[in-house]
Symmetry: C2
Subunit: 337 residues, 2 copies
Amino acid sequence: MARVRLEDVARHAGVSMKTVSNVVHDFPHVSARMRERVQAAINELGYRPNAMGRGLATGRTGLLALALADVTIPYFAELARMVSTHAVKRGYRLLLEQTDSSLEEERAIVSASEAGLVDGVIFQPAAMSSFEIAKHRTDVPIVLLGEGPAPLSVDHVMIDNVDAATTVTRHLAALGRTRIGFLGHERGRQTQTSKVRIMGYQLGLELEDLPVDPSLLVASNAISAAAAAQALGAALDAGLKIDGLVCRDDLAAIGALRALAERGVSVPDDVAVTGWDDITMASFTHPTLTTIAADTTALADAALDLLEERIGGFEGLGRHVIVPHRLVVRESAPSAG
Amino acid sequence: MARVRLEDVARHAGVSMKTVSNVVHDFPHVSARMRERVQAAINELGYRPNAMGRGLATGRTGLLALALADVTIPYFAELARMVSTHAVKRGYRLLLEQTDSSLEEERAIVSASEAGLVDGVIFQPAAMSSFEIAKHRTDVPIVLLGEGPAPLSVDHVMIDNVDAATTVTRHLAALGRTRIGFLGHERGRQTQTSKVRIMGYQLGLELEDLPVDPSLLVASNAISAAAAAQALGAALDAGLKIDGLVCRDDLAAIGALRALAERGVSVPDDVAVTGWDDITMASFTHPTLTTIAADTTALADAALDLLEERIGGFEGLGRHVIVPHRLVVRESAPSAG
DNA sequence: CGGAGAAGTTACAGCGCTGGTAAAACAGAG
DNA sequence: CTCTGTTTTACCAGCGCTGTAACTTCTCCG
C-alpha cells in the first residue's frame, strides 16, 4: 500500500497529470470517455490527493482555526459545534485552539507564528485588549467574536450585551424584586464580557429606579459553577440580602442555584435567578433557568461570511455585526403576573 | 507586508536557505554569530515559516484529528479539552471532526479521502462496526477510543465498562435497592457503549441475586437529558416501579433527576440514581450525582502515546489499553450505612 | 608548521500538486 | 480537401521548505 501520487495515476491511465487533476476536481472540458478512464485508474490504485501538495500549490488549506478559552465551558462547546458544522458546509475544517483566557496564548493565536496553515481565524478573546490585538495581528484573515474590544480594522460579531443585560434586569424588577444582585464577574481585572453585562445590569436598575449598590456585585474566582457557588455562598453567609440575581452566565447561575439550595433559600420565591447563554443544561437545572439566548446559528454564519470575504481578498475596514438574542423565560425567574 | 520567504531571509542575511532553516529550528552546528545574524534578518523582515512548505518537505503536518459524535455532549467536550491540551504539549494541534454518530460521517473519517493533512487520527466510533472500520481504513495512523469494536490491527483505549457498570449496580444493591432500572440506551440498534454497560449492569444484578427484568430497561431516543427525561417520565407514568436507576451517562441521569422531581419522587430516598462520566455538571445537579469517572488524563495520554508510536513507524498489531476508572459517590446514591 | 578531524555552511534535488499556456485534436464551413 | 475556430490535453514552472551530501573553514595535536 505504498503512497500513490498524481503522477502514478497519470502514468497508469496514460494521460497527463493535469488531466488527472482536472478529473479529481471535476473541472469542465474533460470528455466523458477521458473522465471515465482516469477515474478507473484512480480507483484501481486507490489514489488519495495529498492535501499538502495542493495546499502549497493553491495557497489555501481549507482549514480555519477557532480559538476560544475552553471547550468544556458549555457555551463554547455549543459555539464550537455551530462553527464546525457551518464551516464544514462551506468546505472548511476546523482547528480547535484553547487559550484558557491566557494573554500569552491569545497573543500566539493572533500573531500566528506559522503562516499558511489556516486560511482564517475565528477568535473569541478574553484577555487581549483592542490595542494588543491590533499590535500583534498579522495578515491572516481574522474575525473576532464576543463583546471584547475590536480594533477598527478587524471584523467583529456579537450580540448587544448591554441591551440583553438590561432586559434581564428589568425582567427581575417586573417580578417586584428590588434587591437585585449580579454574580459571576471576575475578581480584579474583568473581561469585557463581564464589564458590558454589568453595565447593562446597572442601566436596567436605573431605568427601574432601583438603587445601584456595589455590595450587590458578587465576583467569582473562575468561570465555573463551583467558583460561583462558593462566591455566592460566602456572600450570603456574610449577610448579603437579595431577592433577585442576574448571573454573568449559566454556569454562574447553576452555581447560584446550588448555593441557594444548600441554604434553604427558595428559587424563585425568595430569590429569582437568571443565567446567560441558554446552554442545554439550562432546561434541566432545578428549577430550570431563565436565561439570555444568543442566536448562535446566526453568529456562526455571520462570522463565516465575514471571514470568507476576507479570505476572498476583501480588505476594507472592520465590519461589526450584531446578532439577535432573546430572553428565554423558565422557572428560575418566571414571567410577572 | 508582502509574504516573506525563507529565501528572502537568506538573501537578506547573506547566507544559504538551509542555514536559515537551521536557525529557525534551533538546530545544533550553527555558530552563535551566524545565529544572531540570521535571527536579526528574520526579525527585520518579519519572517513566518510556511507550514505547508515544511509539511510537504517533511511529510508531517503536526496536526491530529479528533473525531467524535458531538462536542456539546459534555463528556466529549472534556475529552476534546484533554486531548487538545496534551496534544499541544507534544507539539501537535487538533482538528475537530464531528460525526453526529452517523455511519456516513464515520466512514469518511476512517477512509480519509485526503492524505497528508493530518499525521494521525483519534476516533471515538459510535456507529461503525469493527468490520467496517477494518474495511474502510487507510494507512493513516489511528487510535480508537471508547468501548466500541476495534479490528485486531488497530490500537484502542478504553475503560473496563463491564466492571464499572457492575460496580455501580452493586453500589445501588448495597443501599438495599432491589428494583434497579437502567436508563438511556438507544431504542433499536444500540451503540457498543450501551451494550457493554447493560452487560455489566446485568452481571451486577446477578451477583447480588437480584432478578434481571427486561421491563426495567428504559431506552431513550437520543443521548440527551431531554430525551432521557421524556423516556423515564413515560415509563414511570406507565407504571414502572423502581428504587434504583443506573444511567448510561450523566446526561441521562440529569434527565432522570428532572423526570423524578417533576413527579415528586425523592432522590435518593425513593429512587437512588447513578450517572456515568463525571462531567463537571455532576457536582451541581440537585441532588449531586453519584457517577463513574474515567481517568480522562490517562486516556488522552495513552491515546497520544499509541498514536505517536504509530506515527513514528510502529506497525505491529493493535494494542488495547485499559485506563482506570472509579466510582464517585455523591448525593444521588450515597454510601450504604 | 602541516595535516587530520571536527565544526560550520552551502548547493541542490525534490516533497505533490496546480495555473497558465502551448500544442494537439477535432469539427464545421467553404 | 483545406482552413479556421473550438475543444481537449500536455507541458512546464513553481508553491516554500528540508534532507543529503559535499564543501569550506577552524581547531588542535604531533
